[in-house]
Every structure is written in structure tokens, then in C-alpha cells.
Amino acid sequence: MTRKASFYGHAIPYLEDVEIKGRFIIIEGPDASGRSTQIELLTSKLEADGHAVLNAGLRRSELIGQGILEAKRSFVLGRKTISLFYAADFADQLENKIIPGLRSGYVVLSDRYIYTLMAREAVRGISRSWSRNLYGFALKPDLVFYLDVDPNELVHRVFKKNSYLDYYESGTDLRLSDNMLESFGIYQTLLRREFQRMQKRYNIISIDGNRSIIEINQDLQKRIDDYLANLQNH
């Protein structure tokens, strides 16, 4: 059960040889793709099956917390500054929550991971190799799912959820179009392309997110159950 953690690049020095017991599963996908609903459903089912589950995600750390959002809204920070802030916040989350959880044997379910951060940076013109190096200290997950939703479908879900398009989720800072709806469409298409680009390198499993909540859930649950069952048989 216990195994050495594996990292993408240069690990956090004192964590290089850390031993973990739990499993690490990521749900990626754009806003309104249904990530949090799926995580709730998966968590309940996994817990019912007797697993200890820990929920993690981006932008939940106590290191920076709300400060970054406020700073982004007031447009004072540059792009590399924002990237580094997110990286610091992510590092805090990884060291203080994810890794301790995995060491104690939890199934850690994360609502997004470094891939979202890298995709956002890439479409903002930040070098991919710079981002890859930056997040080199990230632990390699066991399973990464990407809820792939057609941007045209996505826009309807956003409107259903909020009745307005979020400034950042529309990539408005990139000045893609004066029309917010068009901007949203272009931005989400660019992000989606980045995910397709990363798919192979990071073993990202694409899940058709255009289906109903139940259908997507059955798909995800089956893949996770199969994965966990496979571990038991070995």
C-alpha cells in the first residue's frame, strides 16, 4: 500500500522521499462544467464504500486566500506576479493539505490542479516551459479527469448558474473581443486547446461533459471504481 510519492520535476527538497498511502484523483474542467457537483457525488459514493475522502482544490489555502481575488479585480498585478501568487498558494495547499492527506491514506479528490493554472498562463502568453518548471514540485496524481464541455453548451450552463459571464472566465483581460459572449467563446476554446495539448504529457482522461450529470457521474464512478479495484487485485 505504502509507496514513494512521484513528482513532475524537482520535488520540494524535504519531500523527495515522502511515502504516501492514499490515492490522488483530480477533476479538471472549465467553470460550470459540473466539477463540484461531480466531486460531491463521488465523495458520497466513495465514503459509502468505506474510503476516507479529503476534498482539495485551487484557491482554498489560508496563505493567500481572498487577497489574490481582490488584487486581480483591481488590476494592479502583472501576469507573472499572478502566476507566482497562485503557485505559492498551490504549494501551501500541497504541503499542508494534499500530501498530509495522502500520507494518512485518504483518497484526495481535488477540484482542479496545476493544469488549469498552466492552461491559463499559456493562453496569456507565458512560456509553457516556464510554467512546467514552476509546477515541477507538484505531486503526480493517480487519475486526472477533464470534463470536456463544448464552449457553446458551456455558455448556457454559465447563464443558468449565474445569469452573467464572469470577468475572468471570459478572459476579458485578454481583450479578445468587445463582445463578452464572443470573448467567452474564444477564451474557453483557447483553454480547451491547452488541455488537449497537455493531455498526453499528463495522462489526462477526457470525459464527455456535454451529457447529463447522472451520465457523467456513472462514467467517472466506473473509471474510479475500476482503478481502485485493480489496485486491490495486485
Binding site: G9, H10, I12, P13, Y14, E62, L63, I64, G65, G67, I68, A71, V76, L77, G78, R79, K80, T81, S83, L84, F85, A87, A88, A91, D92, E95, N96, V123, R124, G125, I126, S127, W130, N133, L134, G136, F137, L174, R175, L176, S177, I186, L190
Partner: protein, 236 residues
Amino acid sequence: MAYNKNKIKKNIPTKGKLIVVEGIDGSGKSTQLRLLEKWLISRNIPVFFTEWNSSETVKQITRKGKKRGSLTAITFSLLHATDFADRYERNILPLLHAGYVVLADRYVYTAFARDIVRGCNPTWVKKIYEFAIKPEIVFYFKVPIDIAVDRILAGRPTLKYYEAGMDLNLSNDPYESYRIFQSRIIEQYESLSLSENFTIVDGTMEIEESQKFVRSAVMKLLPPNIASTVGRTTRP
């Protein structure tokens, strides 16, 4: 489509000049840089002074984290990189483009030295800062550890937690920890000194003597268009 494809460039042409001082605390580098600033201002040269870890925006956002005293080598490193990036993106680079002489009290080398001492991978750290333009000149203030430590401890008896390197568990005594920490940083500076082509300043020299040396080195770097402003009475 206005998709912004600007990549991080390594060598952006700039009209200004970037001048950096490096060295451990108490090496006299800040005093020298302030004197250099006075001199440039008196000669009507557009000058901007920037100090390590001084971004107000970043400070506001990180205050909470630092209070917790729970920074690890990686978060410590990344927060300093954030601070640097903020000053770089908003001040250093635009001002260099505008033709300013930018004076930096510590630059990326401080991050290299401290982060590597804290155990971060050198390649990782260096790549994070690769967007930073190479300075015109880096003055490295070289001073024996005992002199530097005495200077610091004489003026400011309480050492802050991270300043003393207490997070490295070198010693339970902050003064002892500080001494060990600083000597390890000196080792890093020594190795950077060669690879990064530092201009070494003997930190034990008299202040006036050092300043004379620093000014004559800087004078040679000023381009004719800036040098020609010497003597004019109007500030830019």
C-alpha cells in the same frame, strides 16, 4: 483575434541601466547604493530605487501567511518571487524601457543564494527568475562574516525568525543560527560571483573609498545620452 502571444523575453532592449548591489546583511551595500542614488540625482539623471521584498501589494496579500509563521522553503521562495515579479513588471522593466537608471538593493541573486541554502533545487529557482533582465553591473560587497554579523548585531539586537534562518533548524540560538545561515549564503554568493561575473567591492573599505570605486564603475556604464545630461539643472 487579439490573442496575446508575448513570450517571456530574456534580453529586452532597454535604454536604461540596471545596477545591482548584492551581499549579506551588514556588508554595507545599502549605504553605498543610497549614496550612488544621491549622486545620480544631483546630476539630474533619472533614477529609480528598488528594494528586495518591498512590494506593498504583495505584502498586503501575504501578511496573513507570514503571521502564521508556517512558510516552508517552497512557499517562502515563491512569495519572494511574487514580490520580485510585481516590482519587476510594474517598476523595474517599464522604467528601464523609459531610460531610467534602476538601482536594485538585491536582485535575483539574493533569491538564488537564500533559496538554495533553504534546500530548493538550483535549476528550479534559476528558471523561475529567467524572465529577469541581466543587470549592467552587479556589485558584490564582500565582507568577512564576523564583521558583517557584528555590524548587524550592534544596531539591531532582535533578529526576525526568517532573517535568522530559524526555519532551517541550524541552532536554537537565533544569533548562532544567524551566523551559520549567513555564512552559508556567503558560500552561495562566492560561487555566483564567478558564474555571474560580479564586480567585487571590499566591504571593509572606508565608506568614501568604496563610493569612489562604485561611482567610477557606474560612470563608465552611463550611455552618452544620459552622461550628457550631467550638469543640466532641470530634473527630467
